[in-house]
Symmetry: C2
Subunit: 263 residues, 2 copies
Amino acid sequence: MDVITSRQNSSIRAAAKLNHSAAFRRQEGKFLLEGARLCRDAVQSGVQVLTAYFTSDAMQKYRPYADEISAKAQQAFEIEPHVAQLLSDTKHSQGVFCVCQMPPKDPPASLAHGHYLALENIQDPANLGAVLRTGEALGIDGVILAGDCCDLYSPKILRASMGAVFRLPVYFAPAVLALFSRWHEQGFITWAAVPAQHAIPVTKADFSGPSILLVGNEGAGLSDDVIQQASCCVTIPMRGRAESLNAAASASILMWEMLRGLA
Amino acid sequence: MDVITSRQNSSIRAAAKLNHSAAFRRQEGKFLLEGARLCRDAVQSGVQVLTAYFTSDAMQKYRPYADEISAKAQQAFEIEPHVAQLLSDTKHSQGVFCVCQMPPKDPPASLAHGHYLALENIQDPANLGAVLRTGEALGIDGVILAGDCCDLYSPKILRASMGAVFRLPVYFAPAVLALFSRWHEQGFITWAAVPAQHAIPVTKADFSGPSILLVGNEGAGLSDDVIQQASCCVTIPMRGRAESLNAAASASILMWEMLRGLA
């Protein structure tokens, strides 16, 4: 395996830029992944690994992971620790990195019948990562990122989602409203989550058919257009201080309710 | 208002130490709070403010907050920006700080009938903060920190809980097992949350009576002793990848189920 000793190496410079720039990730259609377990999860989930980098320590310490990753990567390099530092987003790096191809994530024109979560304009990476992780545990069939959400491939989301990013179908729908009529024709019910009291309490909602649950931005909630186009509005009845429920907790409870009868 | 211009000021040095040392917080029975909204929430919730510090910018920008805080504080000082930096735990400090007395949090020998969450050995401050915040929203009657949980008054928890720390009854129970027999005599059912399939699915559990829900550590779950002493075991039935549900998400869904019929 060739060894990269310089931080000026062009492949390293490009990889580091993928870590810091969402625009560069979009332009290249690639992202950088860090950590032995996450890189192995990506490989096992069929994500295409273009280049893998390992420190020599990492190749010893995480040998089974490193072997599995190298076997699938188009290229693999050893990197010196000071080079690894440049790629790392964490305090204590494991010294394992992959540059991966973004999987195709076209807006789902025809969605297989099932139960989906659509998030509109979610801005907090930790929230998005946590919601993906919980959604995977609860058995959601897919997640739709509507409008202008934070970048799915930021290091923070990749970490917080614990690999759910790779295992869950995640679709991009910048113009989500255009998809509503097709979804409704296909038999989906779209549920707009709102704090309003006039909405259907989630405990009384019938999620037995194909369902898409729409959850909005942390501060502003769903946009008015989405609320108006949705089949119905749903709300979480609360005994306590409603303003204290954040978007991630709301999405978790709503997904749980949607899937609760199906487990 | 007197102005503190030096980082060597003994009151400032002690306040900064409260921010960084859980041991010093315990020894002094005090903690440091940062942020206009959080400090105002503490005052409104009856937390005793010993000393308040404001930068001159903050006194202008957050005047209604600063006035309310100063009125209740035993002492108040203006501090210069470089002094504020020493106290701050955030990148963009608002320049508002309070040294507060820890409220008494004795283990609840006799607990008012209601619905409680008990967390055992929770180590992640962000998880604990998020759970307190969600618990307040859902209307939990109180939270019991059992065993060796992370410090309730760390800056991260105070921020993540959005003031729920002050508004919710939170009790410390280092030796939680000693309390079980009293709780059971009082008519409480204690529910141990476990991943085991033989446990009662949370959707079938009867939480109509006085209930204490027990949730364990992020990695290890509840201790065996707690599981054995609890009235019964409860579990979250899942369609998806169960290992992906973390302690905060589990606690949120379990609290939701416990309180769902009562809203």
